[in-house]
Amino acid sequence: MVYMIDRVFILVFFYTFLISIMSLDSSSNHPIIPDLYCSEVTSEVIHLDSDDEAMKLNVLWGDSDHDDSDESILLSLLESEHDQVQEQTKSLGQQLRKKTWLINAREEAINWILKVHAYYSFKPETAYLSVDYFNRFLLSHTLTPDKAWPLQLLSVACLALAAKMEERKVPLLLDLQVIESRFLFKPKTVQRMELLVMASLKWRLRTITPFDFVHLFIAKLPCSASTWRDLSYIVSRVSDVIIRTCLVMDFLEFSPSTIAAAALLWVTNQCADEKKSECFHKNIGIEMVQKCYKLMKQKLIIRRSGLYWPKTLQLLPRSPTCVLDHAAAMQESSDAHHKL
């Protein structure tokens, strides 16, 4: 928290400086700025929209103490992520594709989970974990296609387990089933399913999720949010994108950190090029982030106009036409990049 406050102050200071530079009186009576450092900063400001200069500014904003702490947390998370057998969920996508009935049933089950999640205003993490448990259970069990109730029971159990892991208050097992349930299971039955799921997952329910990475990645992003309002807006949009990935089987191929990186780049309307990926962490594969980003572009129906614009762009002396041109240029750049 202290770290975030420090960064906000630094950003506010920087914007104040930027505005004062832009408002400088250029009359001949005003003395030339003697400080070379100020001149250098001015130079950087002029080219703020270029990636190179943005990366340099990231250095200006860096706080070495907090960066070290964040870096160790990030490394710890990536180690845990690697340890949690990501290979399993990759094969799930392949297995699911062979069974058409399961694809539809799975999507229906996940939609049900998301409805209950919304009804009780659960955390985004709860939704993601529910689907994670659901997917992992499907890996180790074959279900008969002629009965619909096992998947419904599995959905209830996974949602209950995720809520118990994440939420302060968990509704009763019967109350969890009030939303559009075709079957109503007794608490004892759900408890048995809970035990089955936990044993099946070897009691490893503390799963690394993309949400573990979002704040850490936002702190690394150049031209990041400058106010609390913008930060919460970005987090909210990124969470929405991450939850939408649960519905698309193809995202099972990607690790949580990759999904978090791609979702953040998507929401902040940036291309998933090499520089952006590398600034998150050297252990996060560039190719996978690009592939995930591309899949988000294809699968997720989120209009560009709803995305967040970096604050810095609005501070530059640009007309609306220039902004639109810039967006078009970014779009073309993105397309050109993916064609390579």
């Binding site: 710890s76 968990v170 039955t189 099946s200 490893r204 329910l205």
Partner: protein, 329 residues
């Protein structure tokens, strides 16, 4: 309807039985559930609590001593209790020399969950009460370093313990090895979230929790560690020594009633602070915690700091001057 339901339960139970054989605990056919299912032989009851019982056992395969924590599942309307789910799930991801190792998990007749842990000789509470507190300064320092190492590891994994106290600190006698235990209240923390109020034993509870704040984080564990630190030095709970109406008053008597200057935000957190208690001048830690070297007292004062945002972290504590002269042999 009955037939259909019977069919579900039958196939469900069969699936459960088959899975049980493949899960963490192996089961031999014909054996009755319980200790045998967990491959342990019960020796005696080591402890009893609200959760259930802890048995001292022998591992059938290795012959080693183990501890089996048997938790009764009540209130079926809620299914598996959240405390069990959290404790097991978090312990499955925490691998550290100073954190108790969970060996096996099993369930019995849908009524008990059995957690099999490595066995340690006693806990820090017993150590202080029965054997006289660790008067040896080296032992205190070694214990503190191990506790802080475990706490720093948990926090780097984004896990709060939330119930640190001497009885949850286990000791291996011969090795003088410390292990944190009982993660039933532990959970993953997030910076923007509200947590359950009033957790943990009262003498080790951080002031921000006692003030009914629900926005707290890793600092609550550091306060508890500070209380443990003081207790190891003086031989009894620090806030038991201070005569007071309740724990919060005791804290204010010791450290001084907070002001907006010493604890920014306190007037919003406790609007009725001036009614709640008188304005105390601090008695000071040195009044009660004698026989602790100056650097130790300095570290303790940074742990028992009223303002959570100024309280020292576990990671920073490990780098404190108090530990620099320690020779780990």
């Amino acid at each position: 309807m009955w037939n259909e339901e019977s069919d579900w339960i039958g196939s469900f139970d069969a699936l459960l039985a088959r899975l049980a054989e493949c899960s963490m605990c192996s089961r031999r056919s014909g054996e009755r559930p319980g200790a045998a299912q967990m491959d342990v032989k019960i020796l005696d009851v080591a402890a009893e609590g609200g959760y259930g019982r802890v048995f001292r056992c022998l591992d059938v395969h290795t012959g080693a001593l183990v501890a089996m924590k048997q938790i009764t599942m009540v209130r079926l309307s809620q299914g598996i209790p959240a405390q069990i789910i959290r404790e097991v799930s978090l312990l499955r991801e925490l691998h550290h020399a100073n954190i108790v190792k969970l060996l096996r998990v099993g369930f019995t007749e849908n009524r008990y969950v059995n957690l099999v842990f490595e066995h340690l000789d006693y806990d820090l509470h017993q150590f202080i009460v029965n054997r006289g507190y660790p008067k040896d300064a080296t032992t205190v320092k070694s214990f503190m370093f191990q506790i802080l190492s475990a706490v720093a590891y948990c926090h780097s994994r984004k896990v709060l313990h939330r119930d640190l106290k001497p009885s949850n600190v286990l000791i291996n006698h011969s090795k003088r090895l410390i292990k944190l235990a009982d993660f039933g209240l532990a959970r993953e923390f997030a910076d923007d979230f509200l947590y359950t109020e009033k957790l943990g034993t009262s003498w080790y509870r951080a002031p921000e929790i006692l003030c009914h704040s629900r926005q707290y984080s890793t600092q609550v564990d550091l306060w508890s560690v500070g209380c443990i630190f003081a207790e190891m030095v003086i031989g009894q709970p620090l806030f038991q020594v201070i005569n007071c109406r309740d724990e919060l008053e005791g804290i204010f008597k010791l450290l001084g009633t907070p002001t907006e200057e010493t604890w920014p935000g306190i007037t919003k957190l406790m609007p009725n602070l001036h009614i709640y208690c008188s304005k105390f001048d601090p008695l000071g830690l040195e009044t009660f915690v004698t026989d602790l070297e100056p650097s130790g007292l300095n570290l303790l004062s940074m742990m028992l700091c009223l303002d959570p945002s100024k309280r020292i972290s576990a990671e920073a504590s490990l780098k404190h001057a108090y530990f620099t002269d320690v020779n780990w042999i």
